[in-house]
């Protein structure tokens, strides 16, 4: 195939999926802000992105410092099946642990959620640009 669409969209398609997964995790943390014993979780975005992009990703779009540790067996280049991100979900280190064992800091989660939303939108606009480029090439206008 002359044009590999996945390759053309580059890291952005993967980034979008990871941001979406992070949205879920942060939403869950906020929903469980008053659940006794609940431990807040977050996605290690850097590692997840490195694994999703893979060591043999497109030149120029590669995430540097790919550590490659852990279960590299099921983490092939571009593999973003639902199970593959689970390895990068970590528990948050609480700043002020509460007596009931809950480690959700609502303010921290809120700011992380807002940040994630902005990054999601940034990725969306980058993807949009890529698609517009492609449309221009196809229609020639």
């Amino acid at each position: 195939m002359i044009l590999d669409l996945d390759k053309f969209l580059g890291v952005h398609a993967n980034a979008l999926k990871l941001h979406e997964r992070r949205t879920e995790l942060l939403a869950n943390n906020l929903a469980n802000a008053d659940t006794p014993g609940f431990k807040a979780r977050d996605l290690d975005f850097r590692s997840a992105m490195a694994a999703a992009t893979g060591p043999a990703a497109n030149a120029g779009q590669q995430v540097t410092h790919y550590a490659g540790q852990g279960d590299s067996g099921n983490l092939q280049s571009g593999d973003l099946s639902p199970g593959s991100t689970e390895a990068f979900i970590k528990y948050r280190t609480p700043l002020a642990p509460s007596l009931d064992g809950n480690t959700v800091d609502a303010q921290l989660e809120q700011s992380a959620f807002a940040e994630n939303a902005v990054r999601y939108q940034a990725t969306l606009s980058l993807l949009s640009t890529q698609i517009r480029t492609l449309m221009t090439a196809i229609t020639g206008q």
Binding site: T23, A27, N28, A31, N32, D34, G83, A117, L124
Partner: protein, 140 residues
């Protein structure tokens, strides 16, 4: 589609917080419901929250996000406050009435906390909706 899970999660949070608001309303409304029998006096009710693991969100890896639910509503064990009011029609033979073990200040604080948590979940839902709509407009 997996994006809609955020709505399930935020929705479960809103449902749980509204149960909490309901119990607060019940406790505040009954703060002065006295009784002649300590066993029949109103007791403060409090919901207990529990994290749900992948039950309502099956089919996404081993632990795909989760949600929250109300495990149950517990009644406070604190002894009702006895007051000596022989003129009260509800008073027992010794002239005592029993006031509920509701701490109004605690309930007000609980109400504010529940309301803030509810607002957080609404905000999560709104933001997710906007992001999803923007995704649908992708390439236009």
């Amino acid at each position: 589609m997996s994006s809609f899970k955020v709505f399930d999660i935020a929705g479960s949070g809103m449902a749980a917080q509204s149960v909490r608001l309901n119990t607060v309303a019940s406790n505040l409304a009954n703060a002065e419901s006295v009784s002649g029998d300590p066993k029949l006096a109103y007791r403060a009710k409090h919901p207990v929250f529990e994290a749900v693991r992948a039950n309502i969100l099956a089919g996404h890896g081993k632990d795909a996000g989760s949600a929250v639910r109300v495990k149950g509503v517990v009644e406070s064990d604190k002894a009702p406050e006895a007051r000596y009011e022989p003129g009260n029609p509800l008073a027992n033979a010794e002239g005592y009435i029993y006031a509920p073990n509701v701490n109004v200040v605690e309930e007000m604080v609980d109400m504010i906390s529940a309301s803030r948590a509810y607002q957080n979940n609404v905000e999560v839902m709104n933001t997710s909706k906007e992001l999803l709509l923007a995704t649908l407009r992708l390439g236009q």
